[in-house]
Symmetry: D2
Subunit: 261 residues, 4 copies
């Protein structure tokens, strides 16, 4: 069975900026989707900011296994209800891959619970992404390091929670470092942040980067049935406890009453 994957892209720079359009004439999402489609195990489609509900209505998200997210200048335009819907799907088990400037997207900040801030410089400098564990499912096949001839510098401190795993750390020509491949778990969902991918450089045309993205889709995929009530806090009445119980003491709630929220 294929992994139902949606590549989401803001899709604004490609229409407004000559340099970006030159590199991604059909949009960053099209380039990434084509790179994923090479893998027969991935069933890929795309969505963009200007689509209705940003292309992410509830029905579609319910049938999405892994979502990739690229956004930059219009994070604020993403509807809060859609952000919450995506977060809920991650909790249920949908994988999420956040790309580059998506570090400041609403959805990434929502799931990290942290500032997600960093330092940056757009000078086309060299970036080298070192694989911390080259045998990690996400890094497998790209060798010891990925060389990016021209990149935007993203530098530490990167204000995210300590990750489950540090998969890549980047070196920059200008003297900075950046933890550029990080994994997280939220509820039943796996999250991968990948740092490289500035829109004025052809980074998503790079073969090694494309391998990482394909790998990440497989890694983020959770085949378990969606955990749809993951955010509920059900009461377990005393007479349905697994051990025999006799209620004692005072009580706020009447039996069967819902909890506060």
């Amino acid at each position: 069975m294929s992994i139902r994957t949606v590549v989401w892209n803001e899709f604004l720079h490609e229409n407004e900026n000559e340099a970006v359009r030159g590199i991604y004439p059909d949009g960053i999402h099209a380039t990434i989707a084509a790179a994923l489609a090479v893998d027969a195990g991935i069933d890929v489609s795309t969505a963009t900011l200007r689509d209705e509900e940003h292309g992410l209505p509830a029905e579609r998200l319910a049938e999405t296994d892994v979502l990739l997210w690229w956004g930059h200048k219009a994070h604020g335009e993403v509807d809060d209800a859609v952000v919450e819907r995506v977060a809920q799907r991650v909790f249920e088990g949908m994988g999420l891959i956040v790309l580059h400037s998506g570090h400041f997207s609403k959805i990434f900040r929502r799931l990290m619970g942290a500032p997600c801030s960093l330092r940056w410089r757009e000078a086309g400098e060299r970036e080298r992404m070192w694989a911390i564990n080259p045998s990690h499912p996400i890094a497998n096949g790209v060798g010891p390091a990925i060389e990016i001839a021209n990149s935007e510098m993203y530098g530490e401190p990167f204000l995210v929670p300590e990750p489950m795993e540090t998969v890549f750390v980047s070196w920059y020509e200008g003297g900075e470092v950046f933890r550029s491949g990080l994994t997280y778990q939220r509820g039943a969902g796996r999250i991968f942040y990948f740092g490289s991918g500035h829109e004025t450089y052809p980074i998503y045309h790079d073969e090694a980067v494309q391998t990482v993205l394909r790998n990440a889709v497989h890694w983020a995929y959770n085949p378990a049935r969606p955990w749809t009530d993951v955010s509920e806090a059900p009461n377990v009445p005393y007479d349905r406890a697994r051990e025999t119980l006799t209620p004692k003491g005072a009580s706020l709630h009447k039996e069967g009453e819902e909890g506060f929220r």
Copy 2:
């Protein structure tokens, strides 16, 4: 120098429920504050929901080193702006101790980026909080386990991120378990979640629980100067890079321009 500590309490149940008032006549915050005040290294005050700005104006938070949070039935009444203000102070280095039903508070959910859901039962059953590392600064002095004669059951799955450290795990008479003492780091701030503390039982009068709270204040305290621009993402121009750089390639931003957000 003392640790400037604020105990925040919703302070509603104590006014509305006879049983709760009997246990905490001056409010849960008063009992906790008295327990902390025993420690000469802690300088304690209180704040409640009905105070102006919930008692947490920016000036006061700026002078708070550690904040304790107890809320239950009125999480929704806490102003989003105050929640964001508290989150920002945690990122800057303020310690935060979230108590019991605070698992569903806006501030805890904001910082966890996760559902924070759990199972629960109010049957006055026995709880036993086992110290996973009895030499941890937070557990030090309470022995192998804290016995709570009557407690509200909080059961797994508890939908929070994998913690930095698991400090306590609770056993319940009815057959459940709960990771009841968990530590997190967000930005420069340390967070401790402590599970026990239902308002219809005298849990905050327990000596071992009071020891944990005092310990937690010391653990959560970060003496470093507040990192006030922790959420900023400053540009580092190429001519201020630590290594000599010559800009290359296309660029989205003009020099000196701010990043998108």
Copy 3:
């Protein structure tokens, strides 16, 4: 391609103790192997302490993807050279599943770098293993909790490093708790510790336990090519650095010389 899996068992109690023989007439390894063999994706064989080189010669380990380890009374009889060989294979990418009393095996202690001590009681009491994340690949399909009618109590503190993920936490009739399902990464290899499995009770005949073991084999399997020089610390001469370098300052090592070890 099938996952080449070896079930290692000390295989002493089954020969010496009537009760154990009654439950596992062909040995614990045979029961576990049969449970794994149900899965067409797992290619299973067994090895025991009294086999030559404990059944784990280098050639066999080189062709093993996942190793399960059950030992109890004869940890000390396991040859240090074999332990080191197994550790090296884990670093290269072999998965390792350590069962029950294997917490004190040489190989587990070698890989944890910690005491691996715990509390215990053999009273046939009830154990309930709660899934912390029921959608985790290892817990998938076993429901909210696994009920073990008769179990040996293993209690906290369990002196292991903070895990990558806490998969199960157990409740015991006698009042203790135990983190009974824990994941770790060492080099390219994944490790899963599973607590339940005392030899005087028919625990490995339990369907849910068998599901966990099958799941764990899949989870622990790393399809990447073995990282055979994972323990080497190669010199990178200045003229093979990725950036142009001119050597400066004093030096201990002559060029091409190996590092100290």
Copy 4:
């Protein structure tokens, strides 16, 4: 009360190599000890490989709160019994700070359970240690990055377990990166690995490095009473369980019998 701190040094290069002696005429340990002694809260002494029992007899270790370890060419000469003794003290709560080439010391490998391998180059190149969290107790006061004019390159992959916290990540002139400040917990003891410190460069004379070492001593110090039986696995007889228990089922052990090991 002062933190009783011992600086351990192999102390061989300083006697055998002109360049090293020029930088550390009284040994690396003397320079580090002097840097620590500036802090009135640290009570410092030294020990070296050629001292009897390497200067670490049991009585002295029992009165040591934090141990710093510098070794390079003679890791193999350190007696296994002393290594085990140090490991046991870490489990009991002693802090351990492992420096530079100590990544391959017996004690660090013992506690990591991992290869601890890395890449290296001795070319006197520039290193820049970026603080991942400049408000972390260990990084506090050193600014955004520590500049080391001449350093030995240590490069990823560094084969250690995922740390509790990544405190520093280093940038190297030759193009590599390295996680050069990592924290771990083993039993009751805290461990800090600090990467920089090659003996042919005056790195321990650097003020910021000295600040890190002083900070690390405070961070690693555990004031709790030593957990002397941390490695024991005591039986908890059924009649001393916290809940009333009636033994059931078969049993391997007679009552009061010790566990296998």
